[in-house]
């Protein structure tokens, strides 16, 4: 009887850890996941009880994998699904970073994304700074090519936009950020979910 209580406790601790790992997923999903795994554990334990005496709960939980391992798979899927449906740059960047650490294509997508966002932000920053530093912020064309931004001393060359850098900077800056978001969002549709998983290498008991 005491043993049963101990194993019940073990299962509860396991499920509580998994619940912790699933933070951020919709509450209904979390309940369903836990209900399903609880049933799995109970049925497995009931089966093994008659055959083996040595701590069946231990064996069943070990065979199931760690809560961290299972939790990370659920989270990776949720993140991928969410990022594909979302316009939030931070969520999309998170998913892209994870993708970048797994494959070369992911890394290229990440680089392209960062260039896109950096350009967008730079254009907006220029537009905002122009009224404060009219002589030092702008887009110049010179022997060395095009120079955008704030430079001291002011680059030699012909300034292209003048005050127009404010509307252009804001417009193109936002367009770059939006465009990059749409591009990454579209690219993420083609990423196999496994590539977004946190697990880079399977632990001993893992898939």
């Amino acid at each position: 009887m005491i043993e049963t209580r101990q194993s019940d406790e073990q299962v509860e601790i396991y499920l509580a850890k998994l619940r912790e790992q699933l933070g951020g997923l919709p509450a209904d999903d979390v309940e369903e996941i836990l209900r399903e795994l609880r049933g799995h554990i109970a049925e497995r334990v009931a089966q093994s009880d008659s055959k083996r005496n040595a701590a069946p709960v231990d064996a069943v939980l070990r065979q199931l994998g760690t809560p961290e391992q299972i939790g990370s798979l659920y989270r990776a899927d949720a993140l991928a699904a969410h990022a594909r449906a979302s316009f939030s740059p931070s969520l999309i960047i998170q998913a892209t970073i994870r993708w970048a650490t797994r494959t070369a294509v992911g890394f290229l997508a990440f680089l392209a994304g960062m260039v896109g966002y950096a350009l967008g932000v730079a254009l907006i920053v220029c537009a905002i700074l122009k009224p404060f530093f009219p002589a030092d912020v702008g887009l110049w064309i010179s022997r060395h090519g095009m120079v955008l931004g704030a430079e001291l001393p002011r680059p030699h060359g012909h300034e292209l936009l003048g005050w127009w850098i404010i509307p252009y900077g804001l417009g193109f800056g936002l367009a770059f950020i939006l465009g990059t978001t749409v591009l990454l969002r579209w690219l993420l549709r083609f990423v196999p979910r496994a590539a977004l998983s946190i697990l880079t290498r399977a632990p001993q008991t893992g898939v």
Partner: protein, 118 residues
């Protein structure tokens, strides 16, 4: 070397799990543990049983399978899964692609298995 092999195997397992799960549901509906038992007896794909459930959730959210909770004599409700019509189509096309892919790889590695010189 052993690590490289382990890693390769883990990736392969992960990649094939979707196809294998859809295949177990081809004949009819099963609940999670039945799917796992089926995979354990008929493949080497399942190492940690808990990793099958996230795949089931994903396939369900993609509309390839649907799940239905039912009470059981064990005292715990079970979620039975079955293929949707989109799932049947996907399962068949994955099966065709897998078969073609595997036959080519098989032909490619035949000389290695026989130990023949290239």
């Amino acid at each position: 070397m052993a690590e490289a092999l382990d890693n390769w195997e883990a990736q392969i397992r992960k990649g094939w799990l979707d196809v294998a799960i859809l295949a177990t549901l081809w004949q009819g509906r099963l609940y999670g543990l039945e799917i796992i038992r089926e995979l354990e007896t008929r493949s080497d794909l399942v190492v940690a049983e808990g990793t099958v459930y996230p795949v089931l959730t994903r396939l369900r959210k993609d509309g390839l399978i649907e799940g239905k909770w039912e009470e059981s004599e064990s005292g715990h409700p079970r979620r039975y899964y079955k293929l949707t019509s989109a799932g049947r189509n996907r399962a068949q096309s994955l099966a065709r692609h897998s078969h073609e892919f595997l036959s080519k790889i098989d032909a490619l590695i035949q000389p290695l298995l026989k130990g023949q010189a290239s």
